[in-house]
Symmetry: C2
Subunit: 899 residues, 2 copies
């Protein structure tokens, strides 16, 4: 190993399994996950093959010094190898008593398969003879040798398939089997394998113009370097970017004595979980193979046997392993994922780590471990990633089903959906019974009916924050958005995906959790917990899950400080959200009600009206319908606050975009088409996002908001008479100046007083505002003079704070996230430094004026765990999110309160 610059003496190498174990489980940062756990098992006196870990600091050093190593490293490695030899009773590079080593990566966070590994290291033509002598098994020894040369040639020396070539080592192996007339590797003899070793080495020399290193020390040096290099391999970099693992963490290298599960029938190798990772059941769960190496268990050539069978084959080792599993679970107070090898009847532990599990299992294990007094409730709550709760509420595809993927979009709203393709929203409504997937270039508010009727929504344009995505998430409906490879042709009623043409009526399936678009009808499974929550004759398994879920969420509710409300526009969504634990409505968007059925006609009549009188006439038709909606919502939310936002979108959103629909509308309403066109032209905006909408409408057309306030107050009084406790919170959108709010609050109070006076009844209500324009946050002290509550509309606030149009940002935002210019899509996860600063300023300034100001958030971020944590930190009173994300927000709020 090339020595270079001097460096003050630092410990770089940590032994385990030797006479002195030098690390422990707390040293994950220094030793990586694998190394730290090997050290910990060694501390627990468990049978770990001796070895040592080269720390992550060496990796950092290596990259800081152009691929050189600290001067002291080689001495420390030499000493560690000596200690390993001492413990294992063999000698590295000694033909008479050889010790073979494995060299494995091991980063702080698990990066499975992303970095390199070299096994069976320390063998050459002389040493293999010693191995034969000691094992008495030439075939085993040459198999080990053959595997080593192949792996080293690939991983360390870089001889691999180029272009469309097949792996050249595999080519030679296949040739050999063909020549011998056998099918399986295991049918090759020791002689065959010996020949292969020579052929592999010749191949390396021919292709790389280098000799295969025979010197074990040189082999070790090469393997260590290869592991460090693999930290910055393309695969590893991509993986880290996807998983958000910092590039400067570096990997450790674990050098460990080889043990063999393939030295005969008294050998075995296997993997196990200390509990069932699918269900969470408390029972050892795993698989093993007799006379096999670890890689064979996953390779799938032989079918592994369930772990219980090991008791028959290796009763002593099985007992010991079971005991160790229980011990490790108790020690780590966490479900373990373990790897073991039995060499000649002797058990060796190769790995232990926290086991991955389904969400259902995670909930059950967390709750069970509290009952077992292994962990506290606080710890239990931290064990389940909030986002994972989604899995429990959405249908999923049958895992065994075949998928013919024809497109990849953005996973915009989770779930699994299958149905026949339709392109027009009204057709989706007409064919609802068949089960349809609505396929659109993009959706707009006009399409709500069709979206509601569809099983799932697939769009070619728009991101995770597009209209389609937002609405679908609100509805808890599966959506794949921005699948740009689809060429949709509305005229021919078909789309092409690559060279496939999919016509109207063809079956497709979409996976809203992965973004995949599949041909045909892929079978789905309903989410059992959802059925249980909704009381739809669930099975016993689902009821059990529901009990665990309720226990777990109960703890979360007791732990959290933030209230969790929901964004819901219909009585149905409100009821659903209440089942999911919503404590009120944080955002009821009244405009969605404007699109339903023939209401849109009245809305259009209002827009076309020549004057205020005409508008009032049309609004009188709308009022009873709005009132009825509100009554339903108040009923569903009996006793809980309901925040109703007055009309927000610009009026042109209620008019058809395309000429034929405009003509149709003119015909239907009995007005000249030219008039419709003229009005649509006059309403056109260059930047509708920053246009004539929100309270700006309320001020220029006061009659609209007046009608809405009347409908709210009347609805509240109506249900109150029937014993329902209605708590309306009237929210004025897009306020930027206190004068806007003052004027509209004045109107609201006047209307409310008039109606309550006439009916001789009172209903409590609040008037507040959405803080979604940056200016509103900046002058929140003034606005709080009028506002009885604030609700941060972080969708629009993010748009304006960044100057990003959500509808257009697809042109650069993915690029920004990819290049690391932004850590995440700010429409998904709240930008804490910029938009978040406005939340802080707005909350602090608002409460400076009005100490008891109720402050919440009702953007999409209300259901994003890291954003929820931020809201907790800022001291908000509540978050509000779509119904299906309510449980996520409840748990995220609990975790935030506990951390």
């Amino acid at each position: 190993m090339a020595k270079s610059k001097r460096h003050p003496s630092v410990k770089y190498v940590y032994q385990f399994g030797t006479a002195r174990t030098e690390g422990d489980a707390t040293q994950r940062e220094l030793l990586g996950g694998k190394g730290a756990n090997l050290a910990e098992m060694s501390r627990l006196k468990l049978p770990v093959p001796a070895g040592f870990t080269i720390s992550t600091e060496v990796c950092t050093w290596y990259y800081d010094h152009d691929g050189e190593y600290p001067a002291e490293l080689q001495t420390q490695i030499d000493a560690a190898v000596a200690a390993v030899e001492e413990t294992m009773g063999g000698r590295f590079g000694d033909p008479s008593n050889p010790l073979l080593l494995s060299v494995r990566s091991g980063a702080r966070a698990s990066m499975p398969g992303m970095m390199d590994t070299v096994l069976n290291l320390g063998i050459n033509d002389r040493i293999v003879a010693g191995l034969i002598e000691r094992s008495g098994d030439p075939r085993f020894a040459y198999d080990v040798y053959r595997r080593f040369v192949q792996m080293y040639g690939d991983v360390v020396m870089g001889l691999r398939a180029e272009g469309r070539e097949t792996d050249p080592f595999e080519v030679l192996l296949e040739k050999k089997k063909e020549a011998r007339g056998v099918e399986l590797d295991s049918e090759l003899t020791a002689d065959d394998l010996q020949e292969l070793v020579a052929e592999f080495k010749a191949l390396i020399r021919r292709r790389l113009k280098r000799r295969f290193p025979e010197d074990p020390a040189q082999q070790l040096q090469g393997a260590i370097g290869a592991v460090f290099e693999s930290w910055n391999g393309d695969r590893a970099i991509t993986y880290r970017e996807l998983e958000g693992i910092p590039h400067d963490w570096g990997t450790a290298v674990n050098v460990q004595s080889m043990v063999y599960g393939n030295m005969g029938e008294d050998c075995a190798t296997g993997v196990a979980f200390s509990r069932d990772p699918s269900t969470g059941e408390k029972s050892l769960y795993g698989e093993f193979l007799v006379n096999a190496q670890g890689e064979d268990v996953v390779a799938g050539i032989r079918t592994p046997e369930p772990l219980a069978r090991l008791e028959e084959v290796q009763p002593r080792a099985y007992q010991q392993f079971g005991k160790i599993c229980r011990q490790l679970e108790r020690h780590y107070r966490e479900m373990q994922d373990l790897e073991f090898t039995i060499q000649n009847g002797r058990l060796w532990m190769l790995q232990t780590r926290a086991g991955k599990r389904t969400t259902a299992a995670a909930v059950k294990i967390a709750v069970d471990m509290v009952k077992e007094r292994l962990i506290s409730r606080k710890e239990a709550l931290k064990r389940v990633p909030p986002d994972d709760l989604d899995q429990l509420l959405h249908p999923i595809f049958d895992e065994s089903a075949k998928r013919t993927v024809i497109g990849q979009g953005l996973p915009a709203s989770p779930g699994a959906a299958t149905g026949v393709v339709v392109f027009q929203p009204d057709e989706a409504e007409a064919r609802k019974a068949e089960g349809v997937i609505l396929v659109r270039l993009e959706t707009s508010p006009e399409d709500i009916g069709g979206m509601d009727a569809a099983q799932g929504i697939l769009t070619a344009r728009g991101g995770k924050s597009s209209h389609a995505a937002l609405v679908a998430r609100g509805m808890g409906k599966c959506c794949v958005a921005g699948c740009e490879s689809l060429a949709i042709d509305y005229g021919r009623e078909q789309f092409t995906a690559g060279d496939r043409i999919v016509k109207k009526g063809d079956w497709i399936s979409i996976d809203g959790t992965t973004g995949e678009v599949m041909l045909g009808q892929v079978p789905t499974r309903e989410a059992p917990l959802l059925k249980a929550l909704l009381g739809q004759s669930p099975g016993e398994e689902a009821l059990e899950l529901l009990r665990y879920f309720n226990t777990f969420m109960g703890w979360a509710d007791r732990a959290r400080k933030l209230a969790v409300r929901t964004n819901a526009d219909t009585p149905h969504d409100s009821e659903m959200a209440r089942v999911f634990g919503a404590e009120g409505i944080g955002l009821c968007r009244t405009e969605h009600m404007f699109f339903e059925g023939d209401r849109i006609d009245a809305v259009r009549e209002m827009i076309l009206a020549a004057d205020e009188a005409g508008r009032r006439k049309a609004l009188r038709k709308l009022k009873p319908m709005q009132r009825k909606d509100f009554e339903g919502i108040f009923k569903a939310m009996d006793g809980l606050p309901v925040t109703i936002r007055l009309l927000d979108p610009p009026l042109h959103e209620f008019l058809p975009h395309e000429a034929p629909q405009q003509r149709e509308m003119a015909r239907q309403m009995g007005v000249p088409a030219a008039r419709v066109r003229r009005i649509i032209a006059s309403l056109h905006e260059f930047n509708p996002m920053l246009g004539h909408r929100g309270c700006r409408l309320g001020i220029t057309y006061p009659e609209i908001y007046e009608m809405q306030v009347e409908a709210i107050i009347e609805a509240a009084l109506n249900v109150q008479k029937r014993g329902v406790r209605a708590l309306p919170e009237i929210m004025i959108p897009l306020v930027g100046t206190v004068a806007e709010l003052a004027q509209l609050k004045g109107m609201t109070d006047e209307v409310a007083a008039r109606i309550m006076g006439r009916r001789k009844a009172e209903v409590p209500y609040l008037v507040g505002t959405m803080i979604e324009v940056p200016r509103a946050a900046l002058v929140a002290d003034q606005i709080a003079r009028e506002a009885e509550f604030f609700s941060f509309g972080t969708n629009d606030l993010t748009q304006m704070t960044f100057g990003y149009s959500r509808d257009d940002a697809g042109k650069f935002l993915p690029h920004y996230v990819e290049q690391g210019i932004l850590p995440a899509d700010p429409f998904q996860s709240l930008d804490q430094e910029g938009t978040g600063k406005l939340l802080e300023i707005g909350t602090a300034e608002g409460r400076r004026t009005r100490k008891d100001l109720k402050v919440g958030i009702c953007g999409e971020h209300g259901g994003d765990p890291s954003s929820v944590a931020f809201c907790h930190g800022v001291g908000l009173d509540y978050v509000s999110c779509s119904p299906f994300r309510v449980p996520i927000a409840r748990l995220a709020a609990a975790q935030a309160a506990l951390s």
Copy 2:
């Protein structure tokens, strides 16, 4: 006077001209401008007819108490009347020795003609007899009586013309003259007038069912009430809204002894200025009429004589008046506007106040008064409203010319222009020599060439911040925007305004200072100062003005702390701005250069290119042209910093909007029209303001910015070789995160190092950013790690802070300003509470990271005086504005520094 609620004893009435004067000039708020100055003259022992002022507090009280008065008021009025009687030697209401009074309004700020006045009060049938006896002139006495009844009947009793009716008093007067066969009022005899008094009273009784009050005390009470009521008359309210005068200030009421300029040939009345209000010349300037009342001077029936003639007519009074004028000017240290009356040879001063003047006069007077040691330079600088300097630089219409106004738009860019109507920009260029007015629905960047060629620009849509307005102001060119009453028909090449049809080629004139659109060729006058500044053979008068202007602006430059730069995109504009005193360029918009001549073809080739190589090929064509522009600008700004903003607008702005032009472009470039359409469709944005522009383009298409940086650095090196000191400051637009700036600054430094290395020469340059996205201000501490300067782009920052699209806000913004929801259009005058807070945060946070950070502002606000004052307060280093506003900004900056 109705006494009502008790009130602790407060002084409400202030005497002047009596034995004790109770107010002075400092009490403007309490006594109104008129009252305070009457008191002040009285203090100076000048001959002021005795009287008293009822304070503005009474007005406030009156409105706070539903039209009642404080209890003590009547007693105080009675005492004051007694004192006036004592001084003037007559008695109010005494037929044997009558004293008549005038009752006039007088607010803190002058509201000429907006409130009511009653003269000759205190007369009735018995008193008129006494007046005849004491004056010996029955005709005079009945004329006074007739005038009083008419005025009181109108103002106090409210008898005025209804609908299309002629004033009923005037009808009776006309009838009388007809009956007597005379032409002029003055030809009526005492008897005629006596009859008229009776007829007037009968008319009042018939129409109002009330008697005319004969009791002088009752008359006084009614007149005082009428003046208070007139404070909230429609006219007054409208005026206050226009002038920004608070509604709660209230008016004072001045009650004063009448003096008469119409009691014979030894009487006269006149108005005067202590200096010439047109030129500022130091000589008494005014007009008078012998034997006349004040209102006759302005009525225009008799032509007044120049004041100098008074010396012949009334030598003693003239001497006295001249002395008083000089005394008052010295006393107030300000040019005075005075009113006087000579009654039987005795001079009475009725009013003095600061005189209105032209801007040229204001500058001259301010400079002269410093020379005369009347005022300090500091005071001189405060005497000229910065916005008024505009008058000196723009052509104006000949005041005597007849105007046929056919439309009223927004005064979007000052000046006067006349020309033939054209609708197409290319036609404007072709017919430039004729002088054209470019008439468009709205303008877009494609139209720049035509706008430049036109004398003036008239648009039917868009506000003062529309594209047309912004560009026109930048060019110093007259523009009337948003003249919505024009119906433009591009197809027929005509527009209609009301029932007038104006065709292409017809002459029109537009006034950018008033917003008027006029038929025909209204003669204009060039601004003499502009000619002098540009050295275009000005006359002696212009050179004199230039000397005064330079002296005055020199003082401003020494006083101010803020530097003043200009927004200029061409060498010509840069030179012009330097003449106006710009100290560098604060914003050079490189995209404007992209539209000139055939450059647009290369730009379009770049946009249509399939890949980076194709884009680079097109950019190579653009580079020499950009470089040449920069060389010209660096030369014009030799030794001064030049801030160059890299490409900002979204690419679709460079492509034609309409199908025929798109086809033409495709033909010209030899590509299929469908391709052009497809690319335009793919570039379409829902909210281009928040879209793929600014540094977002620079990051996704780095080759564009690279070309621009190359052109800048090469240009700087080229001119440097020729002895020009180039100081480029490269500005990255629309930065929202430090990562964007870091990446683009890295690119800039690399490109610069490469070129300087190749040329073996150095040129100093800075890299900084525009702060125009709210987030950038919020994370300015991070951004300042990379930025060497900040320039607040307050146009876009205002759009995003408010969430107002400048192009769409016309739908509600005028309404907002009218209703007082906003104090002013935030695109005109910086919103200090909201957008301004971001300026404060951004500056403070930026300087926290980088102490010496250079910070400026380059939005339109850089030329708005109140915004400049705010920038001074925030501690910016400079403001930058369009060339023609540079002098305004210099003066505004000086005033800010002095206040």
